[in-house]
């Protein structure tokens, strides 16, 4: 479990996150939603330690990240997998090398062992005939799968995904969402996903945190989020015509 307590973050004196307190549970897909610029990515990067925080605390299974030494943080990071918005694959490495990279850097496994494990996760994310290809030679959806494979290759306890659906078509988005959820359940890991894709919220958001201008606007489950009376959350969720129609149908069905 990841616990965030009274987190404050500013950039050059401008507050970006104000007094954020929340928790992200084990074996669940936790979603952070909000408008662009609401602080979702900053919150994710603060939890990961990529950005320093001004005040507050972040606990990974009751261990304070702020009180950890450099070595302890390094050990913790081996238990973290991250899928970046643009996949962040290493351009000069093949798909297989990208996936083997964390093992090569952080373990003493032989090349054969690493290849076996890489092939295992490649199968898990359904990547076909891509092992020897460079990231530039595969599609965006495949790049996301490679990023997920790289993130889970070390059997992480925590999985972070920053807008895993950005730039993907609706069908591929759903496949990626389902893949992340399956992996979360299968390995019982704590997964945190940043998204503004409402389809993801409906499909996999077991816990949803809504950020509004750096403040915690709302928190609950994906079943609650569509019925919430919080006007800001409601306006955000039903901002598209498609979801307005879905709400209409949903409300009519409820009346019957």
């Amino acid at each position: 479990m990841i616990l965030v307590e009274n987190l404050h973050k500013t950039f050059d004196g401008t507050p970006v996150l104000n007094n954020i307190s929340t928790s992200f549970d084990n074996g669940k897909t936790n979603l952070i939603i909000g408008q662009s610029g609401s602080g979702k990515t900053v919150l994710l990067k603060c939890i990961l330690g990529l950005f320093g925080i001004d005040s507050g605390n972040i606990f990974f299974d009751d261990k304070s990240f702020q009180k950890m030494s450099v070595n302890e943080r390094s050990i913790l990071r081996r238990e973290i997998g991250m899928v970046f918005q643009g996949s962040a694959l290493f351009d000069s490495m093949t798909v297989e090398q990208n996936i083997m990279f964390p093992m090569q850097m952080l373990t003493k496994k032989s090349v054969e062992e690493m290849q076996d494990r890489a092939n295992e996760v490649i199968d898990r994310v359904n990547l076909v005939n891509a092992n020897k290809k460079l990231p530039s030679e595969i599609s965006g959806g495949m790049q996301k799968r490679v990023a997920i494979a790289r993130a889970i290759v070390m059997n992480p306890k925590y999985l972070f995904c920053d807008e895993p659906n950005s730039g993907l078509d609706p069908k591929t988005s759903t496949i990626i969402d389902n893949l992340i959820q399956e992996i979360t359940k299968e390995y019982q890991i704590t997964t945190i996903i940043n998204t503004h894709d409402m389809n993801s919220v409906m499909e996999i958001g077991e816990k949803v945190l809504f950020l509004e201008n750096g403040n915690k606007g709302w928190e609950g489950s994906n079943t609650e989020v569509f019925d919430t009376e919080n006007e800001t959350v409601s306006n955000f969720i039903y901002s598209s015509n498609l979801f307005k129609k879905v709400r209409g149908v949903y409300q009519q069905e409820n009346k019957r």
Binding site: L50, S74, R77, I80, F84, F90, M105
Partner: protein, 245 residues
């Protein structure tokens, strides 16, 4: 204030480069890769420039020796002194600031923009050591490039002098042996070592700490070239004051 902040960040970065080393097996392949792109990849352009600039130095010297009392061996002497003392170590380094420096800044900058550096950090890797240390080690071979530049610069001067009919082969060879001070070679290589460190670290700093997107990668490459050149010229002045006066 910003300048002091940048200088401080640069030295903190240098400190972190030499901590929490990457596994030797991985580091070895990174060093070989950097030697290939930074050193081997620069030999062609350095050879071309050195040969022709050496030739131009010889021709310019010859054309300015109007007084018949001045011996022809001065052409070889002036070419050797110009090439060994300044052209090879300093001006080739400024050219390398453009070639190697821009390459380092843009490659690290692109890694920053595409979050590849963040990906390495999340894995618990010391990104300073992983990304910058191999470049420093590869550029330890930089004096080898400068040696080639010295040789080809003087050779270019020789060819230009002989085939341009400015002096005889014997005069030129006599000139390059005239009043030879071995310490000048040491001085040139001391400078080269400092320039190599600047060439590896200053562009790395500009790429590593880049903020923004693709446009900023281009801007950072330019800024990196400017600052690397400025530091090379300043270091050249200081070392010359210390070693030759």
């Amino acid at each position: 204030m910003r300048l002091f902040h940048n200088i401080g960040t640069y030295f903190i970065m240098i400190g972190k480069v030499f901590k929490r080393f990457t596994k030797w097996g991985v580091m070895r392949s990174l060093i070989v890769k950097e030697i290939d792109s930074l050193i081997i990849g620069s030999i062609g352009i350095v050879s071309f420039i050195s040969f022709f600039v050496g030739g131009v130095v010889a021709i310019q010297t010859a054309l300015n020796l109007n007084n018949p009392l001045l011996p022809k061996n001065l052409i070889g002497f002036a070419t050797r002194q110009s090439v060994i003392l300044e052209f090879a170590p300093t001006f080739i380094s400024v050219i390398m600031a453009g070639k190697v420096g821009s390459f380092i800044t843009s490659s690290l900058g692109t890694m920053r923009v595409t979050e590849q550096i963040d990906a390495l950090k999340v894995m618990g890797i010391n990104t300073y050591n992983y990304l910058i240390f191999p470049k420093i080690i590869a550029l330890l071979l930089y004096p080898f490039v400068i040696t080639i530049s010295m040789f080809l610069g003087i050779f270019g001067g020789y060819i230009a002098s002989i085939y341009g009919g400015f002096c005889s082969s014997a005069d030129f060879i006599d000139g390059i042996q005239l009043d030879f001070i071995p310490f000048h070679i040491s001085y040139a290589f001391v400078k080269t070592a400092f320039f190599a460190f600047i060439l590896a670290t200053v562009p790395s700093y500009h790429g590593y700490f880049l903020k923004g997107g693709a446009l900023e990668v281009g801007k950072a490459s330019t800024t990196s070239f400017v600052w690397t050149s400025v530091l090379i010229i300043l270091t050249n002045y200081i070392i010359t004051q210390l070693l030759l006066t």
